[in-house]
Structures are given as structure tokens and as C-alpha cells.
């Protein structure tokens, strides 16, 4: 563990965070806004990688956890006008509970069925939002009266700070003894069981942690946007983006997932002048990376260092 503070990864990460923190002093509000969204996305992707990269469970429905957090926070603020921070906290809690309720039965089924269960959960949430339009704003979206701040710099710093803290917690967890047991369970559940580890308990814990950070990030995001809609926090396409970001950045690296997310969002924006082609180009790059560098950005970099 202490070795980490001497590793190159630590110094590089530290330098990146410090440079990122100074950005509001010299870049435009437009760039800051873009990066703010990218940072929240980074947390989605890191939380997802904890489940896939370590526990070995493919969660096809990251947006179920994100959406529950986002909409719970948004609805509470919209309906009762509770304070922003209370709503965000309750959103994260709702996501944890929803994640727990989903994962408890889902982890008992094996192989691809876990992934299918999570996918169905997203579709159900999406339908719920559309059907209960009075409460959720339906397809038009939910208007959220309060925002955390209207200052682009402040919003940016909150997102950066939140991503940094999430990264420390999630990366630390992945490198801790719990992370090791999770990896062992993901790789060979029978053997991990025979070594005396309750696999369901460990995977459930991973799911809950993943849900907490996804929900928290989702809630923060809607208070930044000032609106919650299916297209931004629930749609399957958003979930696919989260997954692509994590795989692009590097499976089992946690930190790579954040890089992947930032790349996806920023690249998508830069390519906006190409119109419809933007999505295509980003997807093609993602496909090439997955095919030729299955370790992702960070995986490729780290393995070069190891060599």
C-alpha cells in the first residue's frame, strides 16, 4: 500500500489533479462545463469498473443505479423543496437500496443472467419514469428548482473534488485485501469459496459501493444540469457509454475508467462539427482500442511500465 505513494502512477495522478484544479483560472466556461460533465461520467465509469474488473460481474445497467440516484434527488427537491445536499445524500442512499434489492437475487444467478437482470432493471426504470410523468416529468424531463452553484468554476471544482475523492476511495478499495478477494471471486468463484470466502457477500458489497458512487454522482449531475431526463441519466445508450469508457480506459485499473470517460465526452464534443459522424468516429476509436489494446489506455501504459 505504502509503495503506491512512491509509484509513478501516484505522482502522475497528483500532477494531473493539480493541473486540472488550476484550469478555471485560464480556460473558458464552455470547456469547464464540458469537463464538469466528464468528471461525473468518470465516477460512473470507475464505479462500474469496480464491479466488472474486480468482482467479474458485467453490469449492463449502470444507468439503473445512476438514474435512481438522480431521479430520487431531483424528485425530492422538486416536490418538497428539501435542501440540495440532503436530496443528494438521499439520492445516493436510494441508489444503494435499489442496488442491494436488485443484486441480492441477481447475484444468485450465474453467468450472463446477472447482466440481463441489470439490463431489464434499466428498462423498468425507464418505463417508470415515462409512466409516472406527474412525478418524474416523464419524457420532457424533470425541472429541478435548486442548483448547487451557478458559477462554472465552483461547479467544476466540486466535480473535480468529487471525482478525486471517489477515485481515492475506489482505487484504494480495489488495491486493499477486499479488492484481492473480489478479484479472486471474479476469476474462480469455486476456488474462492473453498478458500473460505463468502462470494455473494463480497460481490454484494462491491455492488453496494458501486451503487453509492453511481447514485451520488447521478444526483450531483442533475443538480448541475438543473434538470433530469431519461436521455441523460437513464437511457441504455448512456449506460453503454459508461461501459465503453471503462473498457477504453482499462479494465481493472479503476483510474483508467475516469480517463476513458473524459476522453469520450471531450472527443464527442470536439467532433461535434462533424454532426452525426461524431458518434460514429468515437465508437470506431473505442472499437479499435478494444480490439488492439484490450488492456485499454491505462492497461497498455501500465504493462509497458511493468516490462
Amino acid at each position: 500500500m505504502l509503495d503506491f505513494f512512491k509509484s509513478r502512477l501516484f505522482f502522475v495522478s497528483l500532477a494531473v489533479v493539480i493541473i486540472a484544479a488550476t484550469l478555471p483560472l485560464y480556460v473558458s466556461g464552455y470547456v469547464l462545463g464540458l469537463l464538469t460533465v466528464a468528471y461525473y461520467f468518470g465516477v460512473f465509469a470507475m464505479a462500474w469498473d469496480l464491479l466488472f474488473g474486480f468482482a467479474g460481474e458485467v453490469n449492463f445497467g449502470p444507468t439503473f443505479l445512476i438514474g435512481v440516484g438522480a431521479y430520487t434527488a431531483g424528485i425530492l427537491n422538486n416536490q418538497y423543496g428539501w435542501s440540495v445536499y440532503l436530496c443528494i445524500l438521499l439520492g445516493a442512499l436510494a441508489s444503494v437500496i435499489a442496488g442491494f434489492v436488485l443484486a441480492l437475487p441477481a447475484l444468485r444467478v450465474r453467468g450472463p443472467y446477472f447482466g440481463l437482470t441489470t439490463l431489464v432493471a434499466v428498462l423498468m426504470l425507464q418505463n417508470f419514469v415515462v409512466v409516472f410523468a406527474d412525478l418524474t416529468g416523464g419524457e420532457i424531463g424533470l425541472t429541478i428548482p435548486d442548483v448547487i452553484s451557478i458559477d462554472a468554476g465552483v461547479n467544476y471544482w466540486i466535480a473535480l473534488g468529487f471525482m478525486t475523492i471517489s477515485a481515492i476511495v475506489l482505487y484504494g478499495l480495489s488495491q486493499s485485501p477486499i479488492g484481492l478477494v473480489l478479484q479472486a471471486s471474479g476469476q474462480d468463484p469455486v476456488q474462492a469459496g473453498a478458500l473460505g470466502f463468502n462470494i455473494v457477500k463480497h460481490k454484494l458489497a462491491a455492488f453496494v459501493v458501486s451503487a453509492f458512487f453511481s447514485g451520488l454522482s447521478g444526483a450531483l449531475l442533475v443538480f448541475y444540469f438543473g434538470t433530469a431526463s431519461v436521455g441523460t441519466v437513464v437511457d441504455v445508450a448512456v449506460g453503454v457509454n459508461v461501459i465503453v469508457a471503462a473498457v477504453l480506459g482499462g479494465r481493472r485499473t479503476v483510474l483508467g475508467a475516469a480517463l476513458g470517460a473524459i476522453f469520450l465526452i471531450v472527443a464527442g464534443e470536439f467532433l461535434r462539427p462533424t454532426g452525426e459522424l461524431a458518434t460514429f468516429i468515437v465508437s470506431a476509436v473505442a472499437l479499435l482500442v478494444v480490439l488492439f489494446f484490450p488492456g485499454g489506455f491505462l492497461g497498455a501504459a501500465l504493462s509497458r511500465e511493468a516490462r
Binding site: 477486499i178 484481492l180 478479484q183 476469476q187 476456488q191 473453498a194 478458500l195 462470494i199 458489497a205
Partner: protein, 493 residues
């Protein structure tokens, strides 16, 4: 040993039964295991020994019976609870964490089953280092598993199993894939577990390979105990001999000179195959003449299936495989099968949800309607039961019928060489007899060339013209089946 027999048993298994649907894999098994004892659970493939071990460990939930550990019945508990009570299991296949070092892999086994352990303490590291040295991994403990040779990966499995100082150590096929020198080193390690007072349960295919190591042996067949006793007693037991060697075997070998082709029809020359680091075939050479019936005898893991898969073109290999003097390398598996080398694999690979007739028709796909009808009629004569079962779904057939269907489907392709990989796997003796008769008829009524892989010597010898013995990836004996029992039979008890 003498002191050990006076101790009360650490582990008592009473009436252990495991059913999978209609199949009873383990039937009313009883055994006692004492501290400081090595106990062998022995049986041919499909005899239920591995299932018995998994049921003891809690990986498979027993259908009935008790597993009493130090006076407490642990049957029905999940594996992680049983493990925490004092059980360690050495798996045959190792899948270590490849991004972590050997030491970290061992540390995983030492961790508590807790969600609050965020930092590994120093004592844990020291203990892991001690264990690494203990099993002979001291020099490589800071390396990552992918850089280690196969034997060291097996050592890592041993290390993980004994990490938490278990009272009972279960070892699944301790010597699979190891060279003879490594077998010696591993035997020493397992003996040292016994000397520390642990109870060791070994699972293996034959008595001989573990005879020098075990204090007592339980031989099983078709899920049931045949006999328990000292290794030499068990090897002398009549039933055990019959199961492994059969009774007096009548052979009908035709001398090799009676086959007229000057260049053998199929030649395998100096073929070697590696799976990662494990060598599955080491410079193997065999040949088969047109019309000849050749048996390759070998225990599980000896390399029979690998040899057949190399011939069928499924595996990359070094050396050459020639048919009619022509190299097969570079020919696709589909083409090899189409042009007459047809394999009937160990796992049968039937199309379970298709009818018997559809399975056979698929085999005869390339024939004209008329030829297919003729071939089918001939086949139904060979296996009358398949005619009766034509409309039935393949997966609903009994094991023996499925095997006949698998052979039948291969025969529908009108093979020049039929490769049969362990057709007797998991079949009852009465079915063996039917299969045996069918092979006999095949041999007498057709010109077909057969290459048979078997660990069941009783089945492999009677029809064979020539026999090869494959052991630890090498051909160690070749000759007339009549001489087998005298010259090579001892290895098959």
C-alpha cells in the same frame, strides 16, 4: 501410522450420496480420515470420486449422508463455511491472480472473510513468506504467476490450500501434468503435510500412482465403494483387478505384417503439443495401417485426447502427421474429417435437442439419398437400439445409447479411419459388453481402420491388433495386446 490409527478420526463420512437428476454419482459412501494419515480415494473416470470430494468440501451439496468433522456434521454447509472450519483444497487447475505476485496470491488465502479489512498487516506478509518457502516458492515469491513454470503454479495451489493451517487437506489429482522428478518433490510435500498431523485425502485415477504415498486406499467404481485397505491389499483385490484389468482377456491380434500397405495409412511422427507451459505430448510417434485396429492405452491426462485432437487438426503441434504419405498440417479440421479421419470425441458432442435420426442424417449429410439410406440400414444392423429410438431426442437417451449414437453418427460419415476417444467413459459393464460386440462386428465385417483411446484396458485389448501405451505425454510401450498384461499391465491397477 500406528499411532494414527488409535486417534479418533478427524473426518467421518457416513452414507454420503450425491444425485444429479436421475444419475447417482456417489452412492452411500463411508470413510474415516485420521490426523497424520494420507487416504487415497481411487476410481476410474466417472466413478464419482471427484464428486465425493466436492461433496465433502461443500462445493456440491450432498443429497444425503453426513460429513462429520471433529464431531460436528458439516454436510450441507456452503464451501466457505466448511473451509473456515479447517479444510483446504488443492485444485487440479490453477487460475491464480495474474497481476499479483506469488506472495500476494498466497496472502489472499490468508485473509479473513471480512469486509472491513482495508490493509494487510505485517504478520500476514510474514506468514505468506513462510508458506512460500515451505512449498518451495521462496525464490520466485515476488514474481507474477504467468512467468512461472507449470510445477510452480501447482506449488502455489498447495500453498493456498495449507495457508490457514487446515486439519483436512483435499488434493485433486496431485500429479496431473507433472514430470517424474516433480512427482517426487510433490510426494515429499504431501508427506510433510501428514507429518504435521494433517489428514490428507487424495483423489486419483489409479492405485499405483499414489501407492507409495498413501496409508490407506478406498477404491470406488460407479459411485460405490469396492474395497478399502492398504494399497497393496487393494491392488490384489479381485474386483479392483476386474474393474481395471478385466478378467482373462482374449485377444485376436492380426500380425502387423499382414497389412499390405507399405507406407502406413496414418503416420504420427515426433509430435509434441504444449498447453501454455504444460507439455501434453512429448515426441509421440505412432502409425496405423489400412484396416488395422490400434488401441492407445493411457490413464486420464496421459495425452490421448490431445493426440487425437492433433490428428483431427484442432491443435497446433510440432512434428508431422501424415495420411497416405501426405502432410495434414495446414488442412482445416472440417476438411480432415470430410476426407476420412473422423473422430468420435470423449464428450460425445451430440446435438442433444435433435432426434436420433436427425443426428445420424447430419453425419450422412454429404451422401446421396440412396447411399445414405444404405449406410443407415447397415448402421441399424450394427446398433439395433438406434433404430428403435429414431424419433427420440438425443439428450434423453441413456449414456450407453448416446455413445452408440455418437459412434453411429461418426460412421455415417463413412470414415476411412474412425478415432474413438474413451467410448467407455462412465458406462456400466453391461453396456460395455454391447459396445464391445459392436466393435467386434465392425472389425469383422468392414475394412474400417480404427484408432481407439482408452484407459479401460478390458475394453481396449480384445479387438486391438496393436497397442500403444501413453504415459505422462510419452509413448512408453508398443506391442501385441497378448503381451500387454505381462509387460505393461502393472501400471493400470
Amino acid at each position: 501410522m500406528d499411532t494414527a490409527t488409535n486417534n479418533p478420526p478427524v473426518l467421518e463420512v457416513r452414507g454420503l450420496t450425491k444425485r444429479f437428476g436421475g444419475l447417482t454419482a456417489v452412492k452411500n459412501l463411508n470413510l474415516d480420515l485420521r490426523g497424520g494419515e494420507i487416504f487415497g480415494l481411487i476410481g476410474p473416470n466417472g466413478s464419482g470420486k471427484s464428486t465425493a470430494m466436492k461433496a465433502i468440501m461443500g462445493i456440491e451439496r450432498p443429497s444425503a449422508g453426513e460429513v462429520i468433522f471433529q464431531g460436528e456434521n458439516v454436510a450441507g454447509l456452503p464451501a466457505h463455511k466448511i473451509a473456515r472450519k479447517g479444510f483446504g483444497m488443492v485444485f487440479q487447475h490453477s487460475r491464480p491472480l495474474n497481476r499479483q505476485t506469488v506472495l500476494e496470491n498466497i496472502m489472499v488465502a490468508l485473509l479473513p472473510d471480512s469486509l472491513l479489512m482495508f490493509f494487510a498487516d505485517k504478520a500476514l506478509t510474514e506468514r505468506a513468506e513462510w508458506i512460500a518457502n515451505r512449498v518451495g516458492l521462496g525464490a520466485v515469491m515476488h514474481r507474477r504467476p504467468p512467468t512461472l513454470p507449470f510445477a510452480d503454479l501447482r506449488r502455489l495451489e498447495l500453498a493456498k490450500a495449507i495457508a490457514r493451517d487446515p486439519k483436512v487437506v483435499l488434493v485433486d489429482e496431485p500429479f496431473a501434468g507433472l514430470t517424474l522428478a516433480e512427482v517426487g518433490a510433490f510426494s515429499e510435500l504431501i508427506r510433510s503435510f501428514r507429518d504435521e498431523g494433517r489428514a490428507v485425502l487424495l483423489v486419483d485415477h489409479n492405485v499405483k500412482s499414489v501407492a507409495a504415498l498413501v496409508d490407506r486406499v478406498l477404491a470406488m467404481y460407479l459411485g460405490e465403494e469396492i474395497v478399502t485397505g492398504r494399497a497393496d491389499e487393494v491392488m490384489r483385490n479381485e474386483t479392483v483387478r476386474r474393474v481395471y484389468l478385466g478378467g482373462a482377456i482374449e485377444t485376436h491380434a492380426r500380425p502387423e505384417t499382414s497389412f499390405e500397405d507399405r507406407v502406413p495409412f496414418l503416420q504420427v511422427e515426433n509430435v509434441s503439443v504444449f498447453y501454455g507451459k504444460a507439455q501434453a505430448l512429448d515426441n509421440v510417434s505412432i502409425h496405423v495401417h489400412q484396416g488395422e485396429f490400434v488401441s492407445v492405452v493411457g490413464l486420464n491426462g496421459a495425452g490421448k485426447t490431445t493426440l487425437f485432437n492433433a490428428i483431427s487438426g484442432f491443435l497446433p503441434y510440432s512434428g508431422e502427421i501424415l495420411r497416405d504419405g501426405e502432410r495434414l498440417r495446414g488442412t482445416s479440421p472440417a476438411r480432415i474429417a470430410r476426407t476420412g479421419i473422423v473422430q468420435c470425441p470423449e464428450s460425445r458432442e451430440l446435438f442433444g435437442e435433435m432426434s436420433v435420426r436427425e443426428n445420424l442424417d447430419l453425419g450422412g449429410q454429404h451422401l446421396s439419398d440412396e447411399d445414405r439410406e444404405k449406410q443407415l440400414a447397415w448402421l441399424f444392423e450394427l446398433f439395433p437400439i438406434l433404430k428403435e429410438r429414431q424419433g427420440q431426442m438425443a439428450q434423453t437417451l441413456s449414456g450407453g445409447e448416446q455413445q452408440m449414437l455418437a459412434i453411429g453418427r461418426a460412421l455415417m460419415m463413412q470414415p476411412k479411419i474412425l478415432i474413438l476417444d474413451e467410448p467407455t467413459l462412465g458406462l456400466a459393464p453391461v453396456i460395455l459388453e454391447q459396445l464391445s460386440k459392436a466393435l467386434e462386428r465392425l472389425r469383422q465385417t468392414t475394412q474400417i481402420t480404427v484408432l481407439l483411446g482408452e484407459q479401460n484396458v478390458t475394453f481396449a485389448l480384445p479387438h486391438a491388433d496393436r497397442v500403444y501405451v501413453l504415459e505422462h505425454a510419452r509413448i512408453v510401450w508398443e506391442g501385441d495386446p497378448g503381451r500387454f498384461a505381462v509387460e505393461a499391465g502393472a501400471g493400470y491397477l
